[in-house]
């Protein structure tokens, strides 16, 4: 008899959500987002302290990261929420999922959907912003990937928040926590409460300005460790989501 592997249902769910991102014209949304980000970066990049390219890169990738996550997240959670509203949904009814499988599948779906949009928007945005400019693309790509780690954490955070509230409100809360997460350094790292910076999700590690501009000559392990940081927090948040889902009445 065919034995269902643990990871197959989550992957199916993730694929369904990613497919939904495609069917919802999410990639077109990503491309439009990229155009807006690229043009904004080009136009507003000249405004600050003469550090034009730095501001441009910060602005461009920040917009594409949060924008693509927002689009991907809305698409993914709408699908997931619709399934919940139908009473555990077709997926759960046809093949019962464990809370862990559901949490992992939804997180992966958000990540895949958002990543597709992020890739499209970042490519279009970078292309528009870098036309005729001199930018070291290899290092720019590394910074871009570093920012992609942030996407993993935010997707996991949104996934967790959606266990208690609606998908739209979870999106807004994620956005709010995104700002707070970037302020961790300012809030606690410079005070006597530095340990909080290490035990809370510190999104400032994905700060593109820092990785691309001010800290030249970073070793390759920096990017590996940043990836480890993103994955570790993602696992923590997915486990918490799993625990929350387990306690929920379906």
């Amino acid at each position: 008899m065919f034995k269902m592997r643990w990871w197959r249902p989550p992957l199916s769910l993730a694929g369904l959500i990613a497919l939904s991102a495609w069917q919802s014209r999410g990639l077109l949304g990503g491309a439009i987002l990229g155009v807006v980000a690229g043009l904004s970066a080009r136009f507003f990049a000249t405004a600050s302290l003469g550090q034009d390219a730095r501001v441009m890169i910060d602005l461009l990738l920040a917009i594409t990261t949060i924008g693509s996550l927002a689009i991907g997240w809305l698409i993914a959670t709408n699908l997931a929420a619709a399934e919940q509203e139908r009473g555990a949904g077709l997926l759960l009814a046809s093949k019962p999922l464990t809370a862990g499988q559901y949490a992992v599948g939804r997180w992966l779906g958000i990540v895949v959907g958002s990543a597709l949009i992020y890739i499209i928007s970042a490519l279009v945005g970078c292309l528009i912003a870098s036309l005729g400019q001199q930018m070291p693309l290899a290092e720019l790509s590394l910074s871009w990937l570093t920012s992609g780690g942030e996407l993993l954490v935010l997707a996991a955070l949104a996934n967790l928040l959606a266990c208690w509230t609606t998908s739209s409100l979870a999106s807004f809360l994620t956005l709010a926590l995104w700002f707070i997460g970037h302020s961790i350094d300012v809030l606690v790292m410079s005070s006597g409460w530095q340990f909080l910076g290490y035990i809370l999700p510190n999104l400032n590690r994905f700060n593109l300005h820092e990785t691309y501009v001010t800290a030249t000559g970073l070793p390759g392990t920096f990017y590996v460790l940043t990836g480890v940081y993103a994955l570790s927090w993602s696992v923590v948040l997915v486990v918490l989501a799993s625990a929350a889902l387990k306690k929920r009445t379906w």
């Binding site: 990049a45 034009d52 005729g132 800290a215 480890v228 570790s232």
Partner: protein, 274 residues
Amino acid sequence: MVGGRGLLIAAACWALAGTSLYATNWQVAAARSTADIRQIPPLEPPSAASIKALSLGFTRAAADVAWLQTIQYFGGGNPNERYSALTALINTVVKLDPDFEYPYQFGGIILPLQGDYEDALKLLDAGIARFPNNGLLPYYAGAIARIDLNDSRRAAVYFQQAARTPGAPAAATLLAGVSLTDLDDRQIALAWWNGIIETSSDTTIRDRAIVWRDHLETVLALETLIIKINAASGLPINNLQDLVTRGLLPEVPKSPLGWPLVLNTATGRVELLR
């Protein structure tokens, strides 16, 4: 998954996250202490044509935004000590809204300070063509030509234009004369000074013009005398003191401007020793 094993995995990942954050913080601090901040070439703003196309008809509003960008860029300070995108930004503003007068003046004052003399003159030329009654624009252009480029001919043209325009600083009249005085054609300069003396109602300018006219007449008289002596004798005059030594003058005349006069033997011209 969420049982004891799940919590164990979560705790391990939490610890791993804190450790990796600590390690990356250390790496960034180390990189900052050894590496300079990256110098990235400043960006040029988008072309005025593309902004015009994207503005959907709100071209002047786009010009206003571009102007805000310009003054923010300039006001923000510059770690590289040069606002290399400033010329392009100002040109974008005036291309989007050529009737916006102030950017011409702003560029005419600021751009020369960072050595962009020709860019400033091009901008001012465009402004002069658009606003022929603004005497400040040719006045600034004249100052750039005279002070920065040391081009008296160009300066004279600009200053003369400014002097004919109402609202230009009164000094434009004098500066046009000074620039003309430095040119080879000193008869034009003499005519310019005499014109001011005859027509100016401002006694300060008139008195100053008289001093410059007298200076120019002194210089012309000396140069004419030296040419005559050099042509008549085989022994050329090498300096103005020679005129006294040979008994042609009781003493070396001084310029009414207050500076001593010297003979430039290479050009044969009598000049101020400034």
